[in-house]
């Protein structure tokens, strides 16, 4: 099988996985070495991985929405596979953001969850991705277009999540906190974001590989059944 053979794509994948492993070891040290924020204290360090995971949720949703749009108009199975893999990563990074945020909130606000506009809209976005996965898992091939429409709806929800802190009065810090960050804190955030972006790319490639193997398996099953019927 072509998908099982080793080739240049495997080499790229191994290099990217190695970079991710190095990041896994390096990023915590960089975060620990970043200065302690004067008001919130050490709990602010959650920021360095809570923000990138939330961004990866948004990136995943936008990629899933874009791929679904392509699938709806052109019907390319590859776009559908990208949408599925990306939506799955959105659920993964979404749960990371939804868990790390309240842990910060418990120390900073005294409460894990306040039904703040950013928290609530992020939870809704995450639940939309979950609805997409449920439609894909239990709806069968007929539900693929319905799921694609759900992914589009999720992608349209991303600006709402991003601007929720500006539209409504919330406890959650504004999105503009990043440009106003102390210059000594920026390397930790930027490196952490770069690392999470690499991790996202590696996981997407890995998940797409599984989908390609499954597609090849489905084709092979049909070919085998045809061959056995002919015999």
């Amino acid at each position: 099988m072509a998908v099982m053979a080793r080739g240049p794509s495997d080499t790229r994948f191994i290099v990217a996985a190695a970079v991710t492993a190095v990041g896994f070891l390096a990023v915590p040290f960089i975060i620990v070495r970043a200065p302690i924020e004067s008001v919130m204290g050490p709990i602010q360090k959650i920021f360095y991985f809570h923000v990138p995971t939330a961004w990866m949720l948004m990136v995943s949703t936008l990629v899933a929405g874009g791929a679904s749009l392509r699938y709806l108009f052109r019907g390319t199975p590859g776009s559908d596979r990208v949408a599925l893999a990306s939506a799955e990563l959105g659920i993964l990074f979404g749960i990371c953001a939804l868990v790390s945020g309240p842990l910060w909130g418990k120390v900073a606000w005294g409460k894990y969850w306040t039904w703040d506009a950013r928290q609530t809209s992020t939870l809704l976005l995450w639940m939309l991705l979950l609805a997409y996965m449920l439609a894909r898992t239990y709806g069968g091939p007929a539900a693929r277009k319905l799921a694609a429409a759900l992914a589009l709806f999720s992608a349209a929800n991303v600006p709402l999540v991003y601007y929720s802190v500006r539209v409504w009065r919330t406890l959650h810090p504004d999105s503009s906190v990043v440009p106003t960050l102390d210059p000594r804190m920026r390397p930790a955030l930027y490196l952490s974001t770069l690392f999470f972006l690499t991790l996202w790319g590696v996981l997407l490639a890995y998940r797409l590989r599984l989908e390609r193997v499954r597609a090849a398996l489905a084709e092979l099953e049909i070919a085998v059944e045809d061959a056995e019927e002919a015999v």
């Binding site: 099988m1 099982m4 896994f24 915590p28 204290g41 050490p42 709990i43 360090k45 959650i46 991985f49 809570h50 995971t53 993964l92 749960i95 990371c96 868990v99 790390s100 842990l103 910060w104 418990k106 120390v107 900073a108 606000w109 005294g110 406890l171 991790l199 996981l203 890995y206 998940r207 590989r209 599984l210 193997v213 499954r214 090849a216 398996l217 092979l220 099953e221 070919a223 085998v224 061959a227 056995e228 015999v231």
Partner: protein, 90 residues
Amino acid sequence: MTRLIRLLSTRIAPPLVALLCALPVWAQEYEPVTEASQPKTDPSPFVIGAYGFIWVAVLVYVVVVARGLGRANREIEELRRRVDAASRSA
């Protein structure tokens, strides 16, 4: 009908109007976080817990995908054996 209108206007409408008037007040209520009310909690378990959760979630995801890949590859091998057997019997 007149009794119903009288009932609505005297018994139901006044408390309903009072409730609706009170709603914006509830919506504006919030619990201000002052320095004194901020809990003096040790943040280390929260920071380590958040970072640990992310890594456990990613590792679990990688294991689930790896198992799916292994299962699909085994099924492909099984199908190949069936194809070989079918071609030999033919």
